[in-house]
Amino acid sequence: MSAQPSVQDMPPPGGFPQTIKYERYLPKRGPSGVVLFGGMIAIMAYGWNEYFKSLTEKKELHREHQWMRINIVPLLQAETDRDYVRRAEAYKKREKLIMQDADPDWQPWDLKAPTRGIGKRGVFDLNQAEPVYHTERHVMPKHLFVPGDDGERLKSQWWRGSKMFHNNPRYHEREDFTKEHPRGIQHTPDEIISK
């Protein structure tokens, strides 16, 4: 090619005016990396510290709650024992009444009384009578014969319709559930009703 002077897009003579910023401008400002990481670590350390403190406090609250319940145990156990003895004696009286014609020596509801039919070494022998348990410790009988259906029975779920949850009734036990509104009073916005 001919040696012509190259045409380049050069700045005007005297340079660009000060208002046109053509150079890179990335000043070093703001907190340094150390400060940023340090700040993050400090905030996280504070958070973790608060969390572990809350765990210890939760443990202490749990301790308090458990001791509250432990302290009540003897009172409730004494009451339950008395109730159990009452019901056990009533049951034994009833069973003895039933068996008095069949076997006057019948020991009601007693797993340690000799039972006719149980023999030594677990054989079935109507001439022998061995108790079911031979141990010294107390064994609770497992089976109970409740009087038949001619006896007075309560409803299984007697608490339905009661005032046990008066502060926050169950969804289907709320008073606004009626025959007219089987799903409760539905609150619709006024603009839909007017259309």
């Binding site: 009172l75 024992d81 004696e89 107390h138 299984s156």
Partner: protein, 159 residues
């Protein structure tokens, strides 16, 4: 898998109506408290009736036979009745405020601290009983005496 399912008796429930047999022991006034008042007075009951409850639990430890520990159980109940009558005579209002607050707040002690403080102060002044939580590590204040606890919330009021 460990959820609890109540037994459903399809034929209905049957209640034993016979009274306690007289030949074993004479009947005794039962404690008629519901759970919230009982929980309020639990710590004071532990201190007031410590001897009788210890006797009863040691007797229970020996055998699970219910007929063996009836005497100690009666002593425990009588001591509890004595404490209840003392509380009603001296600190009835504060006790009522505390257990009513507990009743609407899932029986959580940490939600009813102001009422508990009033009740504890009244009981200490009138009856001399304090609330003691065993097993708190040394150097730590018990959680009911902490000044700025982390767990706090507005309790649901009694209606």
């Amino acid at each position: 898998m460990t959820t609890h399912r109540e037994a459903i008796f399809v034929n209905g429930l049957w209640v034993e109506k016979d009274p306690f047999p007289e030949d074993i022991a004479k009947p005794i006034d039962e404690v008629g408290l519901t759970s919230a008042p009982m929980e309020s007075m639990a710590f004071f009951f532990a201190q007031h009736c410590k001897d009788y409850t210890e006797d009863f639990m040691l007797c229970k430890n020996e055998s699970s036979d219910q007929t063996k520990c009836l005497k100690e159980g009666r002593k425990v109940t009588r001591c509890a009745m004595d404490l209840i009558s003392k509380l009603k005579a001296n600190c009835d209002k504060q006790w009522e405020q505390h257990w009513k607050c507990m009743d609407t707040n899932n029986h959580l002690l940490w939600l009813c601290r102001p009422q508990e403080k009033e009740f504890n102060d009244c009981v200490f002044n009138k009856l001399g009983l304090t609330k003691h939580i065993p097993g708190v590590p040394e150097g730590e204040t018990p959680v009911h005496l902490k000044e700025n606890p982390m767990f706090k919330r507005e309790p649901v009021p009694w209606k």
